[in-house]
Amino acid sequence: MLTRRLIVCLDVKGGRVVKGVRFEGLRDVGDPVELALRYEQEGADEVTFLDISASNEERDTLLDLVRRTAERLFIPLTVGGGVRTADDVGRALRAGADKVSINSAAVARPEVLTECAERFGAQCVVASIDARKDGSGWRVHTHGGRKPTELEAVAWARECVARGAGEVLLTSIDQDGARSGYDLELTRAVADAVDVPVIASGGAGNAEHVREGLTRGGADAALVAGILHDGLTTVGAIKSLLRESGLPIRSTT
């Protein structure tokens, strides 16, 4: 049986892991390679680098970073942020990423998902969706959650998968950074609507929230960031709780 995954996300800018609230007041958290290796040792099932750089110069730094990480990290590495074309995806994969997440570019031109899936396989194409509650549904936003679109999140997730995405990374903008738990309703709605793995993101404040995202939310994987970097909990503590709850979890002891 497939185990549920715990994915650690590192926000990267200018070759360093940074942390801030809504990309403001950024502070340095550490070296991405060292942090990725530490989380692998602690039992993380995957690592994601989210590039929050503003410039192309910084993006080149990211590819170099991916290269140095892939040489030492022996769990899957996903890279996201600023990916626009199939060529961008190709460069990230060549540098050593196993998967690439695509967000705003897919909204602007959904064909890019198909192009990537045909060239590199659906298993490395992650559709990243940022959604905000809007009436009885959820509206897709782009550009780090700042720009609303015409798209409804559940329908958009279905379309992304139909176009070739092999996974959906689903972030609740409302919950992001709030540490009061994932948007379980949103997660459940998308998980029920698509046949590919859904990664719950945005809002985890403790291990219990992760458990709820995987059980009530129906997600295959949960993405965590700040609560680990801040030392509020550990990979081991989260996985212990998940295992005690009867979820299939990869053991690393």
Partner: protein
């Protein structure tokens, strides 16, 4: 020991190259020409891409590679690289190496691709590294005609498929050992020690 990675295009081969290089005395080389790739002590077929495109890249050197394997060249095929050891695939045109009889077909499951960590059952591949939970990222699996070559099985939803096949000095794995953390790296090193030496 000279280890050659046959590079047929897309995908991450850095982690695999480094996993191989963790073994002592291993010299890893990357080769894009399939006929020249067999001039080595160990051949590795890495695992990212689509069958059709990979088979096309393999075609000019297919016979040379196949006979090298039959003569006993140690080989490790990973994911798509394992599939290339079989006859053909529903994923795309072209011929594999046909070292293992059988066809590659789509996983019979609701959730495809299978992405994530899953269990290997009844693993008898190597004595020095027992497989436990390993990382998969694939939509297709190898339907081995001869079940006796299967040295480990995995089940995704209701579909039980070969996780590992072995005949002689050729081993194919559907999962990614280079992405399966320390136990996956240990498997690669044990392969080099037990099968290739």
């Amino acid at each position: 020991m000279r280890v050659t990675l046959f590079d047929y295009g897309a995908g991450n081969i850095h982690s695999l190259a480094k996993a191989l290089a963790t073994a002592e005395g291993v010299d890893v080389r990357v080769e894009v020409d399939p006929a020249r790739a067999v001039d080595t002590e160990v051949l590795v077929l890495p695992g990212v891409g689509a069958f059709g495109a990979a088979a096309a890249r393999l075609a000019p050197g297919r016979e040379v590679m196949r006979s090298a394997l039959e003569r006993g060249l140690p080989c490790l095929g990973i994911c798509l690289g394992m599939q290339l050891l079989f006859d053909s695939s529903d994923e795309g045109e072209g011929q594999g190496l046909g070292y293992f009889p059988g066809r590659v077909t789509r996983l019979a499951a609701r959730r495809v691709p299978q992405i994530g960590w899953n269990q290997v059952d009844e693993d008898s591949t190597l004595s020095g590294a027992k497989l436990d939970t390993v990382y998969y990222a694939h939509s297709f699996v190898c339907r081995a005609e001869d079940a006796s070559v299967v040295t480990g099985w995995t089940t995704h939803e209701e579909d039980r498929f070969p996780a590992v096949v072995r005949r002689g000095r050729v081993v194919g794995v559907q999962f990614h050992p280079e992405k399966s953390s320390s136990s996956g790296v240990a498997f690669v090193r044990a392969f080099l020690r037990e099968v290739a030496s």
